[in-house]
Amino acid sequence: MLKPKSYPEMMGKALVFEAEPFITMTEDDNPWAEGLFMVALMGLLVGAARVIGSLLLSASMPDPDALLAAMLQGIRQLGPLAASIGLDPAALEGIAQQWRDVGFDLFGYGSGWMRLLWLVLAPMLLIGRWLILGLVCHGVALALGGNGKLNRTLGATALMAAPQMLMLLQVIPFVSVSGLLLSVWSALIVYRAIEVSHDLPWKKAAAVTLTALALLAILTMAGGFMMALITAVWGGAV
């Protein structure tokens, strides 16, 4: 097993698509375990950064209830104007209240103990994404003539967690890391991982990556649809 203190250097090299970290991971004595530890550790750090960031955000911003009261005051002032353009002031107040209850929690603003959920959610989400993507990539790579083993594929694709290092900056309030940047950068790292672990030419490696991402997108949408369906059915039953 590698020493965790070598992870930042490996991830830094993975970010610039050097072959060395991918080779190191595939040649590890237990690549998937190494990958699991790396991804879990990164997830934990990202979760911790979000928790600290949300604490600093809550300390830097006004009290959420005071902010809500100011927003509601503004909405009430708009009352006649809003009605004249077909907007219901009561509905607007409801939306503002919902933002206080849900939206603020989402940004970790004044959310109390809820923010600690990120310490569990962040690693779980990262590990889930890595496993699904790694397994799908391995299957597609084998279908396209790759010769890698699942263990090595999982080890190499674990480096897709490298762009998450940018999320550590969220310890500072109002730092915003684009999801698109993380997704694209991770996809490019997965492409490099497949190239190295399966010894595939660039076109096939790109095809493997795109296919895997498309399948992951479909799975995510299907999962979201199922959740919505369950919520609708469950909500109707209650």
Binding site: A59, G74, S178, L181
Partner: protein, 263 residues
Amino acid sequence: MTGDPSLQEGANVNENGRSRFAAWLPTRRQMRNALQLNIEPVDSAVSPDSVTFAGMRQGMGLIVAAALIAGLLPSLFAWTMAARVGTATPLAQLSQLAEARANPQLQGVGIAPVLADSAALIAGLEPAYFPGWLAAGITALGGWINWPLSWLNIWIVYGLAALLLAKLLGAKTTLQQFYTLTSFAFLPLVLTALGFIPCLGIIVNLVALLWAAAIYVAAVRAATGLSTGLSILCALLPGAVVALLAVALAFTVAAGLVTALIS
């Protein structure tokens, strides 16, 4: 194993006589060559001063450093303004924006003055725990950090679109070569630090953008070996498509709003 060959790192990664920090940036001669559009093709570069001798690590460092320099003045200004009000920077900026949009001749009429009053009220709320200057400082720091993050976003995401187009046109390049050379296009954008100056700011921003576009095209040409025309196509087409989509989306939203208001 098949893999994209790494670029020769050149004199930059030689730790002798260079600090570890400097190893994350291209040399001054490389930056000067890039600004002068003197970017040799990858397979013909011989001098360590050539732009193609830099590595992707130096390219990433260049973008981060340039963005931090460009964002320093606006962030300091935002911090000062927010510290005077004694609130977080985004709230102070919201208040300033709302006030600027409220037409003083229509005082008490229309939605804008109401929004301006609400924004001012929100900006006047004290931070929950930190003193005003600290809240302003921490949130301004967040705004400053967003500069390199957004530039990295453009570099990676837009670069991928341009690279895919180049590959479709038959270019033979690697991820590292392409991203290394295109990173130099962000150098002139340091001038956007002066964008806040009235009148002059618009000219400076325009010069910076045009200069950056020219370096980007030269970098694409050097990395891919494509002709100048095809390099321009690869470099600018993704941006044109995004701009068209944005216009179409704005038009659709506006049409929907107008329809809703009329009905």
